[in-house]
């Protein structure tokens, strides 16, 4: 039977999880709670229940990453895309902004964990930079463009239906950089979006800045790996499966060799 002290400990573990930069390695109390979560199944259940009551999901609790939490739908801890992406009055434009920001986050994860193996390997630490993330998406756009050029029919976007335009066209069209009067990176360019995303992820404790090279170079943290592996990749993948645009891959798992064939 759980006591009041147990509930308090469970709540404390969750509150540690809400401070993404605090790690069990640097805090004895935190490390103790993490160990207890791993060993004591009653405490584990209690923690999960407290989290669920708050509108949170415990993705994983480990010594490297600490307690990794995710917000459930409509939770107060949820970060909405609408508040992250730039607001635009025209609905199609708002969708475009959202998709571009989302693609940047997808590309960051894809570059951080280039092979399926890297995502599975707990000790793997990836490196990403603003220049590379933008480069990865532009490269994919270029391949898709070449593929489109090879296709027989004309598939330039229809003038009357901007929402039917393929996402890669919108990304490829957006400039990578633009000069502003004060010499900063314009925020609605793709590099501006990437550097925003990487700074955001660093604030959330998912990336750590290594240097300012290539527009900002970061390394991934175990926390980010768990977040991507346990939740993000699957939920996006399920959406894509429902749309019927991807098939479940085989054990090799990579689509890249087949893409390079089309070059």
């Amino acid at each position: 039977m759980s006591t009041t002290a147990d509930v308090e400990s469970a709540a404390r573990l969750i509150s540690f999880g809400m401070r993404p930069k605090q790690l069990p390695g640097r805090d004895v109390v935190y490390a103790d709670l993490v160990r207890r979560y791993g060993e004591d199944s009653a405490f584990k259940q209690l923690t999960n229940s407290v989290a669920a009551g708050l509108g949170l999901m415990v993705l994983d609790v480990s010594t490297q990453a600490g307690a990794v939490l995710a917000a459930t739908d409509e939770s107060v801890f949820e970060i909405k895309m609408d508040s992250y992406a730039r607001q635009s009055k025209i609905r199609e434009r708002r969708d475009t902004e959202k998709v571009l920001h989302g693609l940047v986050h997808l590309a960051t994860a894809a570059l951080g964990y280039p092979r399926p193996d890297d995502l599975a390997n707990d000790t793997y630490i990836g490196r990403v930079s603003v220049e590379q993330v933008d480069g990865v998406v532009r490269e994919a756009c270029r391949i898709l463009d070449e593929r489109a050029a090879k296709a027989e029919q004309n598939n330039d976007p229809l003038a009357g239906a901007p929402e039917l335009e393929q996402a890669w066209r919108a990304y490829a069209r957006r400039p990578a950089a633009a000069a502003t009067k004060d010499g900063r990176l314009a925020s609605d360019t793709t590099r501006g979006m990437v550097s925003r995303a990487l700074r955001f992820l660093a604030d959330q404790g998912f990336l750590v800045q290594v240097s300012g090279e290539q527009g900002g170079t970061y390394r991934t943290t175990p926390r980010y790996q768990i977040q991507v592996r346990e939740l993000a990749a699957d939920s996006a993948f399920e959406e894509l499966l429902e749309l019927g645009v991807v098939a479940v891959g085989d054990a090799a798992g990579s689509l890249r060799p087949s893409i390079s064939d089309t070059l």
Binding site: H105, A107, E165, A167, L231, G253, P257
Partner: protein, 487 residues
């Protein structure tokens, strides 16, 4: 023959779409000349904007090499002498402003995508006519490793500029070479210079292709076909350089001789210019060649670095192939859901900030912080083109001009309205509006535009008796503008 057959027989070929796109690339240049009269900071009609724009693209293209392009200020500085030659009487400040205006318009600053879009029609396989959008850019801004933003010409711009629309680079190159030799043997140096410049642009294009492939290799060796495609590209580029070296060294010898032997100082000067261009071409070939030689080593080094991984230990997704690429291929409307899901899950949790009363009070009492020099994001205006700007026809404007030309004796508005109404009921409204506008005439604007007269309206208190309009019965007259310094 049915209508559909007629259409597909005459319209649906790919060549038409290609030509329409080529035509679209020139539209921004024509647009500059069409809009120059509307600039309010100068009477810009003396400038040939399309010429300046082409010159700008030239400047950027020449400054492009493997690593960087042209800085904004460099381009503006190099443009100035050319602009000054078009209007020597105007000040250097105005020339500078024209240069910046043309450059901004070629980038299309002010739109979110910084590019151009033209709509063209094509007939799809089912025979239906569809309007499609063609997006293109002329000058592209890119960030250098040091964070500076610089300019490069797009492929579209290079194609428009060189005029090599829809032609094979390699064969056009040979054609240009043959032309050059011909020209030199006939002594036509001006054309020879043009041909040499075209050859240089093509060399730049070769370099661009190679640079893009090498960049892709650095990111992912598997993204570039090193089995067939790259060796072919390297081979053709190398044999191309070999041929160009031979040709250009021969040209250099010939023209150097022509330069030394020429009697006519103009010929001598032009030959000297050509020598410079050809020498530049040769140095560019050398640069391309050294990159070509290093390309193989880049591949091997990258292959070693990006070594192949063992089999995965647990089932995970291939983020690039199974998430990113499929999402990129989706239409925007469908892509929102998966990417939003991904973001939602990857963004983690945010702890809502709750203000406490005691800290709120001290927060409110704190002096305002020094404003940061860097403001937040500047909203991009979303401009929708006006549907119809001309409410009155040119004929109505002309007649209103006639009615309102009152150099000698002032006239009452009521009289003018009556006269206008006789001719055309709508004309009366235009006359009334213009009279009202001239109640507070913009003398400053008129002077700036170089007008020699302006319409003046004075209210002497007489009320206007009219069925359609109310207010004062204005007295209208035309005032001449005298200018100082104009003899």
């Amino acid at each position: 023959m049915r209508d559909a057959d007629l259409i597909s027989g005459g319209l649906a070929d790919e060549g038409l779409a290609r030509r329409l796109k080529a035509l679209a690339c020139t539209a921004p240049l024509h647009d500059l000349d069409a809009r120059k009269a509307k600039l309010d900071w100068a009477d810009a009609t003396v400038y040939q904007m399309a010429e300046i724009a082409l010159h700008t693209i030239d400047q950027v293209t020449i400054a492009m090499d493997f690593d960087t392009g042209a800085g904004h200020e460099d381009v503006v500085r190099r443009l100035q002498p050319f602009i000054a030659a078009q209007a020597p009487g105007r000040g250097a400040e105005e020339h500078l402003r024209v240069a910046r205006w043309v450059l901004d318009n070629l980038i299309n600053v002010g739109t979110a995508d910084r590019g151009f879009r033209r709509v063209y029609g094509s007939v799809d396989e089912s025979g239906a006519y569809r309007r499609r959008a063609f997006d293109f850019k002329l000058l592209v801004e890119l960030a250098a490793p040091d964070g500076e933003v610089y300019l490069r010409s797009s492929d579209e711009a290079i194609n428009v500029l060189v005029g090599a629309l829809d032609t094979d680079v390699e064969s056009a190159h040979i054609a240009a070479e043959v032309k050059l030799e011909n020209l030199i043997s006939r002594g036509r140096l001006a054309d020879a210079k043009l041909a040499a410049e075209q050859a240089r642009y093509r060399t730049v294009q070769y370099g661009e292709t190679l640079r893009a492939k090498l960049d892709a290799t650095r990111r992912d060796v598997r993204a570039v076909d090193w089995a067939d495609e790259m060796p072919e590209l390297l081979d053709s580029a190398l044999s191309h350089i070999e041929a160009r070296f031979r040709a250009e060294n021969a040209i250099l010898r010939n023209i150097t001789r022509a330069r030394d032997e020429a009697e006519d100082p103009d010929h001598k000067r032009r030959a000297a210019e050509l020598v410079d261009i050809v020498a530049d071409c040769i140095s560019r070939h050398t640069q391309l060649q050294s990159r070509l030689q290093a390309a193989g080593a880049t591949f091997r080094a990258e292959q070693d670095r990006q070594q192949f991984s063992g089999p995965p230990r647990r089932a995970t997704l291939d983020l690039f192939g199974q998430l990113l690429v499929p999402s990129l291929e989706l239409p925007i409307a469908d892509a929102v859901a998966p990417v939003e899901d991904f973001f939602h899950a990857v963004a983690g949790v945010e702890v809502p900030t709750v203000p406490s009363l005691s800290s709120l009070v001290s927060l409110l009492l704190r002096p305002a912080p020094e404003r940061d020099k860097l403001v937040g994001e500047v909203p991009e205006p979303e401009l929708v083109p006006a549907e119809q700007t001309d409410y009155y026809s040119d004929e109505q404007w002309r007649r209103a001009d006639e009615l309102l030309d009152l150099p000698e004796v002032p006239r009452r508005l009521s009289g003018l309205l009556a006269e206008a109404r006789e001719a055309d009921p709508r004309l009366a409204r235009l006359v009334a509006l213009r009279a009202l506008h001239s109640y507070s005439p913009e003398i400053g604007a008129a002077v700036r535009q170089g007008d020699d007269r302006t319409l003046l309206a004075v209210d002497d208190g007489t009320p206007l008796e009219d069925d359609d309009f109310g207010g004062a019965d204005l007295l209208l007259t035309t005032a001449r503008i005298e200018r100082e310094g104009v003899a």
